[in-house]
């Protein structure tokens, strides 16, 4: 993507995000949030993060690749376990990176 296109994209997303933030305190200040929109908002983050994680781990060049002979899926598994046990974001990132380095050290390619 060209720098100009990227700038345009960022301005667009920024503008949209600002409109979301201003929506209920400015544009529709006298109205309450519809129930369906409320429910939708609650599920957007889990759906987005799940899709992005799956894609980052198992999609390469438009193809599904389960590369279990590389360190990343296993480091991600360690991160999932740490996230589940500790519910701590920084501990999760730290454990995932540590697992990645350890695996690379133990099984150099």
């Amino acid at each position: 993507m060209s720098t100009t296109a990227l700038l345009l994209l960022l301005v667009l997303v920024g503008l949209l995000t600002y409109l979301y933030r201003y929506a209920m305190i400015g544009l529709f200040a006298s109205r309450s949030l519809p129930r369906w929109l409320h429910a939708l908002c609650l599920h957007i983050a889990p759906a987005s993060f799940a899709a992005l994680t799956a894609s980052a781990l198992f999609v390469a060049g438009g193809e599904v690749v389960f590369a279990f002979d590389t360190p990343r899926p296993w480091a991600a598994l360690v991160a999932v376990l740490v996230a589940w046990r500790t519910r701590n974001v920084l501990a999760t990132i730290g454990a995932g990176m540590a697992a990645l380095y350890l695996l690379k050290l133990l099984f150099p390619t």
């Binding site: 993507m1 720098t3 700038l7 345009l8 994209l9 960022l10 301005v11 667009l12 997303v13 920024g14 949209l16 995000t17 600002y18 979301y20 933030r21 201003y22 929506a23 209920m24 305190i25 400015g26 200040a29 309450s32 949030l33 929109l37 409320h38 429910a39 908002c41 609650l42 599920h43 957007i44 983050a45 889990p46 759906a47 987005s48 993060f49 799940a50 899709a51 992005l52 994680t53 799956a54 894609s55 980052a56 781990l57 999609v59 438009g62 193809e63 599904v64 990343r72 480091a75 991600a76 999932v80 996230a83 519910r87 701590n88 974001v89 920084l90 999760t92 990132i93 990176m97 990645l100």
Partner: protein, 247 residues
């Protein structure tokens, strides 16, 4: 009026002070974002500018992650546009507290209405709400200056986000690619996802979206991600209805 001036400043500084501890949690994300942006080929000035115009950590990480994966303009716009929709929730939740303010104040506060500023400011509003019920006469006598507190919290987070982005951009140039620090982005998503998976409908949305991302992997420009998220949302809505019917 001089008295109101000092009280406003005191509220602003109290907001800054209460927001400050949250910067410990925010700064690593800003740095990860800066490093990942450089790795994805985003010019440093544009990555820094994005922190000012988008000012939403999760969406910025998503944009950078998708850029690195070679996604196109429209899929990135749709995905980050959808992800940020949750800010409507914060806006709705803040509405009752800021509705009475002049428009210029609401325009300003909307800009700093992020996850972390919301979390701190809403606590202050709820605290004082409870206190106001106890001492109605007292709070009527003093002017309501809590929007200064909100602004202080928002400004502190804004400054912290800009600085940590800058730090990531500075470090990013010196870190060798073998460190694979871009891997911190999916790890961040894993951590946030785990925190979010509290109820059944959210779990269904995540599961379907995750499988969908694999099923639609072949779609061009990473449009499969958008399809997967929409399908996940449908699964979430369907689960909510099923649970309501079962009750």
């Amino acid at each position: 009026m001089a008295h109101t001036g000092t009280s406003a400043r005191r509220e602003f500084l109290a907001g800054c002070r209460d927001e400050a501890p949250l910067l410990l949690g925010v700064a690593p994300f800003g740095m990860i974002y800066g490093i990942a942006a450089l790795a994805a080929g985003v010019p440093a000035w544009l990555a820094q500018l994005a922190s000012a115009i988008v000012f939403a950590g999760a969406a910025q990480l998503v944009i950078v992650q998708m850029l690195a994966a070679g996604a196109g303009f429209i899929p990135i716009a749709l995905t980050s546009g959808l992800l940020n929709l949750r800010h409507v929730l914060y806006s709705a939740s803040m509405a009752e507290y800021v509705r009475h303010l002049p428009r210029r104040w609401r325009l300003l506060l909307a800009y700093v209405l992020t996850d972390e500023a919301y979390a701190v400011a809403v606590l202050r509003y709820q605290q004082r709400h409870a206190a106001a019920a106890d001492h109605a006469e007292h709070t009527n006598a003093t002017a309501d200056l809590r929007h200064w507190y909100f602004l202080g919290a928002g400004f502190t987070l804004w400054a912290g986000w800009q600085l940590s982005t800058a730090a990531g951009l500075l470090f990013g140039t010196t870190i060798p690619p073998e460190w694979e620090l871009d891997f911190a982005v999916p790890l961040t998503f894993i951590a946030l996802l785990t925190l979010l998976l509290r109820e059944r409908a959210g779990q269904a949305a995540a599961l379907v979206a995750g499988l969908g991302a694999l099923a639609f992997a072949a779609l061009p420009y990473k449009l499969g991600l958008v399809a997967a998220i929409v399908l996940g949302l449908a699964a979430g809505a369907w689960t909510v209805r099923r649970l309501e019917q079962a009750r």
